[in-house]
Amino acid sequence: MKTVLQVKDLKIEFHTYAGVVQAVNNVSFDLKEGEVIGLVGESGCGKSVTSGSIMRLIPMPPGKYANGQILFENKDIVKMNEAELRNLRGNKIAMIFQDPMTCLNPVLTVGTQLMETYILHQGMTNQQAREKAVDMLRRVGIPAPEQRVQQYPHELSGGMRQRVMIAMALGCNPKILIADEPTTALDVTIQAQIMDLIKKLNSELNTAVILITHDLGVVAGMCDRVLVMYAGHIVESANVKDLYAHPQHPYTWSLLQSIPRMDQAKHKLQTIAGKPPDLLNPPSGCGFMPRCKFAMDLCNKKPPLFTVSDSHQAACWMLHPECPHDLKQLFAKEVAK
């Protein structure tokens, strides 16, 4: 499979009055054609900044690309000019957001907003664009699309609005769809509908998807590969099945332990003590160290990404070949439980 997007050593800082916030640090990953990758983590871990930076949506200043490259079709998005960006956004890379109400313009009809994309990027006439808009709305499962194109966003429900957003995003056949918590604002039965739709369109159109979420259940059903972020770093990257069956980073493991499962009853939920570090003065070593049960002296130094297998990497010193054997065993025992 062809690689469509390559993020290399991305580092993003925000220069604020309080100091420099290191929101994203040393993030690298590849996205292949037709692949769905999940970007998981708690609020403030840098997942939305990472995805926003791919479309250059981070306000600058205060934001700043301190380092790294984002390669798309052999061009570095970080260095693109406005004209190139306009051709990229919404056309080659599209995005859907968490709250579909605030992303749609309340004073324009749904049809006008959909048509704008087609007219701008594909040079369609008004008539063609209208037909395409109706067709796209039908594809995303909106009943009576001929009437819907004339309605305003407030006349639609949350799930419908998200479908309109998806229709808008996929209208130009983008190579990449970035979905930033697309179902967080929706109810579970509607979430199931939307996830089903994204999956269907992903296999029909072969669009690569970056799914940003904090819901490990959604990730399990949707993604081929998962990147777990913590305090601005990718701490683990793995094939979805490996990640859930054999988590290698203590953070991933604790996160999986702390969520209740609908299909089984747990006695007591495992908690992660403390809270994520302040990114204004991030710890010099592993960001998870203060909350980690398995921390050792070495963790004061930043761990590199160790390779576990071809498709599995994790940034934890426990994977170093010289790590004490009993500590490794202790962790393996806990995971097996």
Binding site: A192, L216, V218, D263, L269
Partner: protein
């Protein structure tokens, strides 16, 4: 556990949203329609449903924030709303407390944490004198896992999870018997949710509290509740013990709801057959006749449009409101 603490009988709550020129309501939101159930002493009853199904309205009506349109809510044989209007209203308020969803909006930003927790103590005249009160505030803070030194700080200095703990301390200040937890964890991060839920369970065991746990996260409700009630568009669809409801759901809506919840396990998740509901929840301004779920139900019969299904006991202690079950 079969000792009834709270009894709701045909509780109905309507909100008038639009009035005619002469003050007659023209648009009515039927938020809660004829809901009856019991909450037993010492249990956690989970109340689940999608947004707009009336679960929060029930919680707020029980605490007395809303006056019911019809029906009653009874606490240990006393009508809560009659009691709240009478001379003994403080005694009733002491028994029933509430924890709110948004820990950012439910704490006064201009008061210190100590003052926030001391306020109910002053209103209910629980502690005599400043020293007693300070002592009590400190012990409450310790009880919810905070530090007594935190009493002098303001809410903005705390994280979401810690603020929710402050909310618990305020609710616990008056020694309540019953607490309505209105989505106490939905605004928190996953790793923090577990901390807060564990705290809720510890407090329940220590103090013998009874909870009504309102939530939309069905996995968490399974974890914390003894019994679970499922609501749809203002009506109760199903009520059963936790294990019965999750392993043997009866109502078509419960089945669809459970199947929509993603399970954090790719092996199960990628092979699972989902029941995907068509369409959206109808507006409570103009709910469908008969069974409210019939517009999205694939088993709907002609009868479902005519007759409102009663909540029947379909198995021991398993209640379901559906004609076809």
């Amino acid at each position: 556990m079969s000792d009834t603490l709270i009894k709701l009988s045909n509780l109905t709550k309507h909100f008038n949203v639009e009035y005619s020129l002469f003050g007659k309501p023209t648009k009515i939101v039927q938020a809660v329609e004829n809901v009856s159930f019991d909450i037993f002493r010492g249990e956690t009853l989970g109340l689940v449903g999608e947004s707009g199904c009336g679960k929060t309205t029930i919680g707020r009506t029980i605490v007395g924030l809303y006056e019911p349109t019809a029906g009653t809510a009874v606490y240990e044989g006393k009508d809560i709303h009659a009691e709240l209007k009478g001379a003994n209203h403080l005694a009733m308020k002491r028994k029933i407390q509430m924890i709110f969803q948004d820990p950012y909006a439910s704490l006064n930003p201009r008061m210190t944490v100590g003052d926030i927790i001391a306020e109910p103590l002053i209103i209910h005249k629980i502690c005599n004198g400043q020293n007693d009160r300070t002592e009590r505030v400190h012990s409450l803070l310790r009880q919810v896992g905070l530090n007594p030194e935190h009493a002098g700080r303001f809410p903005h200095e705390f994280s979401g999870g810690q603020r929710q703990r402050i909310g618990f301390a305020r609710a616990l200040a008056v020694d309540p018997k019953f607490i309505v937890c209105d989505e106490p964890i939905s605004a928190l991060d996953v790793s923090i949710q577990a901390q807060v839920v564990n705290l809720l369970q510890e407090l329940q065991q220590e103090l013998g509290l009874t909870y009504l746990f309102v939530a939309h996260d069905l996995s968490m409700v399974r974890h914390i509740s003894h019994r679970v009630a499922v609501m749809y568009l203002g009506a109760l669809a199903e009520l059963a013990s936790r294990n019965d409801l999750y392993t043997r759901p009866q109502h078509p809506y419960t089945k669809a709801l459970l199947s929509a919840i993603p399970i954090p396990d790719p092996v199960i998740e990628q092979t699972r057959q989902r029941i995907i509901l068509e369409g959206d929840v109808p507006s409570p301004l103009n709910p469908p006749s008969g069974c409210k779920f019939r517009t999205r139900c694939k088993y709907a019969l002609a009868r479902c449009a005519e007759e409102i299904p009663e909540l029947r006991e379909v198995a021991p202690n398993h209640f379901c409101a559906c004609h076809i079950v």
